[in-house]
């Protein structure tokens, strides 16, 4: 692959990562800003997944844990998105060896998430 196309891939990967951390950073700042006004929301049980899942959406949008958890989830999906973007770019360039390599990485990652969900 000529240098110019590698450069395109580098820009795409860099932008994907930057967008991911900017988004999750913003959600986390919003969460902590909200927590300053609602100190009672820092209670020990008000962050667990089971507790969050039991709350109605109207209560969640006013709760810091919701924004912090959303930020953490976005952060966790960013590297997966990065691998997906890389796979698509290699496919457009018809670089099949790296399409295969990226696909295996994506497959193993998905498998680990499914295994975690089933466990």
């Amino acid at each position: 692959m000529p240098h110019a196309l590698d450069r395109k891939l580098e820009r795409l990967v860099s932008r994907t990562l930057k967008a991911g951390i900017a988004g999750s950073g913003a959600l986390m700042v919003a969460g902590f800003a909200l927590a300053m006004f609602r100190p009672e929301s820092m209670a020990a049980d008000q962050w667990q997944l089971a507790w969050l899942a039991s709350q109605p959406l109207s209560a969640l949008v006013a709760h810091p844990s919701f924004y912090l958890t959303a930020g953490i989830l976005l952060l966790m999906f960013t590297p997966i998105l990065r691998v997906l973007m890389t796979l698509i770019t290699f496919a457009i360039e018809r670089d099949w060896r790296y399409v295969l390599i990226s696909a295996i990485v994506l497959l193993v990652l998905s498998l680990s998430i499914v295994l975690a969900a089933l466990d």
């Binding site: 990562l17 991911g20 962050w47 953490i72 966790m76 997966i80 691998v83 998430i113």
Partner: protein
Amino acid sequence: MTPLHFLLALLSGAVAGVLGGLFGIGGGIFLVPVLSIGFGLPMHQAIAASIVAVIATSSATASVYVDKGMSNIRLGMSLEVMTTIGAVLGGLAANELAGDALKKIFAVFLLCMGALMWWRSRTHGEGVIRVDPAASIHGSYYDEAEQRVVEYSVRKLGAGMLVSFFAGNMSGLLGVGGGIIKVPVMNMVCGVPIKASTATSNLMIGVTAVASAFIFFLHGNVHPFYTAAAVLGVLGGSRVGTMLGAKIKGTTLIALFIVVIFATALRMFF
């Protein structure tokens, strides 16, 4: 979480971010004890927060290094195949094995690797960097410290992949990111300049960490307050880390990396 705890978590995240940007490591070896001993978080919550922080370190530092052309995406992707498979298998076996014995074996391995890196830095300086047209992966980047374009070819990719499997396995078993193995392997085995090795490791550690992060998250061990505070610290610290990492001399970086390897080995022993 008290405001003081928030500030301290932010600060420890920042330190991990600086270490990550400089050395291509996730900083879990530093974050886990701080969160568990310093804040009294249960061990599995400390590891969970640390693993999410590793993802933040990876994305924040790699976004800079990839843009500068310092991370080698093809090399990273090739090695990631092995680290992710290794991490999943390691994660599955984690409950079966005695953690303490394994830690000591890992520490001995690190000591040997640190000694080898030290010996090589005295005989070979930054390593044997050369361009080989027959190699399947090549790389080049502008070295800000030396003010020149460095070109290299990746050698012995197969051996690199084998050790990456081992590195991934260790991260699954011990909950460490594995950057501390990936960097010396890329540098000493594959002939990748140290700065490209750390930058490529930065890109890789996020993917390795994601596999285990989901397990911790779905088990409800990711404490959003402590984790998010550490992540915000990482985002700040990694900016400083990447600035230093781009400007530092390769030989200085190798010398500092050897110190990090020995410190990590000692920490594993005690």
